[in-house]
Amino acid sequence: MASGKGQNKSFKTNPELFSDETLTPSERILAELEQQKTPEIIEDLADIEKALDNQLADLPQAEIATAKERISDLLDKYYNGDPGVDFNQRFAHKKDYKNEIIQTLKCYNITYIEKPHYPLSKDEKHIIRMDFFGRINRPHFTNLSPLYQGYLRFKGQVPDEEASVESSPKKKKRNSKFKNPTPLNTRATIYPLESYDLSISPSWQLFRLFPRFHNLERRMLKTIQSLHIPPEQLNLLSVYDFSDILYKTFRKSEKSPDAHLFLGARHGFIKDVFKKHEQWIRAYLQRQHIHPRYINSLIKMAQSKGVTNDINITTDANTYMSEFALANAEDFQNFIISSIRSDNYADEIRAKIQRNAFVIKGPALHFLQSNQNHFKQFIKKHLLEQQYVSSLYDQFNPEIPGYVIKDINNFINANQDDFITYLTKHNLQGIIRKKNNKKKQWNIAKAFIQKNQDSFYEYLIDQGDSANYANFALHALDGTPQLTDFGKDTIISFILHNDKLLQSLPAKTQQHLQNNELDEQTLQEITPLIRRNFSNLQEFFTQTNILTYNELQNELIDNERTIIFDNSLPGVITLQEKGFILSHASLFKDWYLTTNTDRYKENASSTFDTIVQQGLNEQNLPICKEFIRERLSSFMEYAVTKGISSSEIIHTFRDLKHPVSSELTGTIQDFIIRYGSTFKNFLLQKHIEKKDSLLDSTLKKIKQNDFYGDTAEILHKFILDNQSSYIEYKRKNKHIQQQANVIYEHIINNNSETEEKTILSKYLNENIYNYMIFQQDDEQLLPYSKNILHNIKQLQIDSTEEHWLKAYTQNHAEQFSQYMISQNYLDEDKEDSFISSIQQQKQKLVVTFKDGYVMKIDFGVHHKRAAQDSGEIKHHKNIISEQNEICTNIAKINDFSNLCVFTEFWHRIMHSMDSTEPYNNRERFVARLMPTDPNIIFYGSENAEDQLSYDYANDKRTKRYDQYLSDLAASQSER
């Protein structure tokens, strides 16, 4: 937008207002200029250049050479006054010195220009600053408009300090107007995002001049929406309100003092200059005798972050060790090879494994990959060991399943008389009556069952349970671990190995254990001991196990078989059993539907017999009706012959709840007796249908890992009746195979957990010599050493690289310290202490720089238009003429062609010569030093070779920027 004049009458920026008035330079400035007798004011930069060329041509060469000394003297006089003069009179000639400096600076390609600069409004300055730095400070609450403050109060987002401050009465009165802003009527109204039109806001129009802000619009709207600001009130929001909205949108946390919006003009410019002219800048810095390490750091920071100060020099010793290693690359490589082939390398690896510092990459990775099957087998064995120990744990912690307890209860209820007799005989009635004595009651029930084992067994069989289950239920009550021989050996050797445990046992038991005897009584004595020291048992077993994978698997199966078939089932069916059921789904279905068929047949016969003997009653009538309804026409024929009307039959069977006449009842009974076998089959079929519907829900529960209650009972009974397939399944153990694959993947990809790491270190410890042989092979070793060197070159220093760098420098301590001295990193007198510190180093090597502090190389970004404080008005020679070209577009001020990187020394001098005057109750710039070359972008020193020109007018960034501004102007004029 070249000029906003006349385009939006409701809103005018300050520059526009200013340009509406007559442009006249202040009288004070004119008078001052006359008095100083400065050369004719040069208005246009192009003119400046021309004029200066002429002047420079006139200057004798000698004068240019001595100009540097002169400027230093003049600056001294300018700041410190005339030497030897009374203090009060000393600064009398300050203006003359300034004038002289200005004159002298001309041969440094810097000129002093007078231009009318209009003062910018607070809002404009605020936006320009934000655009320049790309950051926004948290706006102060008092700077916000009262309306917006009201919305914040409504949302409860008033800062604490502001909420606690008592407002002045005047302020209170003013705020009370906005205390209940409009949204209160429409309390939680959320206006749709599309309803917000930012173009109605004059404040945002100002923001929109800057493309960087324009791009943020959509993201900002969400914050406006969350504050419930009605769309029609956008035009009332001030610039500071919008900054608060921007701050709220982009802050990192609620208490952040500022928010990062975008890469500001300043940082963007630095980034661009350092990227486009890296070689030139590097050469310039080298001419200034700056150490390469600072140059690299500065250029890296400028290119990546757009900053020129706060140089981060790595003080990490790795940098120096890498430099040293790279300087002796071949020797370093040979060192790696010879160390790996040396005899004590195995110890080093072992120490690394112990520290858990072994990283799976390079040859270690290749080693594991090429021994994949062996390693997986090892993992599987480790998992199996864990499983075995946990099966031992189950042996020592048996849990009687709930369904067995239910059966016991039922049995006692069915044999109440016997039970009472038993109680009276043993004088136990008192205990049974007491409610809180559950444990004793349970023991009595157990004792009763054990006394009546045979009748309990028969009872269960009568109930339709299989013999397997009946046996299991009897064993489950016993509770003593049914250990295999190997299990016994393991337990005995564990206790004998652990002196403390052994000592805690009675002498007789100790004797038994030492004789390798583990009878039932001894087992009972050691049971609590084993329960308490289970974790030790696990550790002991994994360390001392000598069984192979297959042997251990057999032992595990034996042990689990005793648990599941003889002892008790673990409370929860494990995932492995789930796998078994699901992989044998058809077998399971078949078993589930056909088991207990005999019992159902018997039931059907007894129902039939009751009907024959006692006739129909309320219990069996519904099922009979159902039976007849399925074959109604046959029944109709039969009934009509018995003299019953068809209408009555239809009436009765239309609604099954309808009462049945006594005549009809007799007929039904006769019909059922006549088709006895069909009726019995019908009953059996009904049972199976009912079970079929239960089957689906059971399978569903298993799939969802719901193994409790009835499901557990069914599963357990299924396993008991299908022992051989279960053991076959266990032998395959697909579950462990999958688990091993997962662990292997974790280890290979270096994201293993602690337990997985122990498996790895155990494996490597066992196979350390195989690993060494593998690594020492030329095929592995040469690429390995090359790769390490390559990584160091690429600055990708990981623990492995660091290890080799350390080992190498430690081995070559003297050469390293010599290198550090030769590179000026280290003082010569510190050599001895340095060498000893290298040799003693454990974790980090600390290098003290010769120059102690890290020096900053400071560059400032200089505004050629003094943009942050005032705007510039471009004009031709006659400033009062009508041909004034007015630059009212404040956004154009942060354009790249207005910026220049300056060394801080010159930057400071330029600013110290600024002259200002009061205007319109504000201070404004009226004159300042500027680089004469309008295209200068880097000013390193007074020498021409240290100054860099680049015409941003032809740069694609400027073109893009201009295009944006003209598009914006066009769209505004359309509106």
């Binding site: 102690g852 400071d858 020394f905 400071r908 001098i909």
Partner: protein
Amino acid sequence: MKITYRNQADIDINSPITSTDTLQLQQILHQHHYALLPQEFINFLYLHNGMNNNGNIICGIKYHHQSDDILTINQQIKHPLHKDLIFLGFDEFDYLAYNQKHQIYQIIDKADLEVIEEYQDFASALQYILKIEDE
């Protein structure tokens, strides 16, 4: 040099430094083209490594980036004549500096770097900047 203060209890005084520290700092200042510390000020550092009287500060040899570290404030101020000047302290409006060329202690305005007072000896300059009165 002996300085006594009436309101000594109010001043934060830091423990002294050793000659190695000053020597090292002088080397750094020389390498980076700053004026060197005057002997009088070095003697003061042997007694107190900086002082702070209600935000009126005499700098010392501290950690880098600390606001009262000599090297840090000299890097921050960026005076065009830094070859001849070494800044030693500051208050709300002014800096205290030593001008090596003219061998004089100067009180320099923070805003426009204009010299507003000059002292021949360190004790008087120190009293000015710390706002303390002689006994």
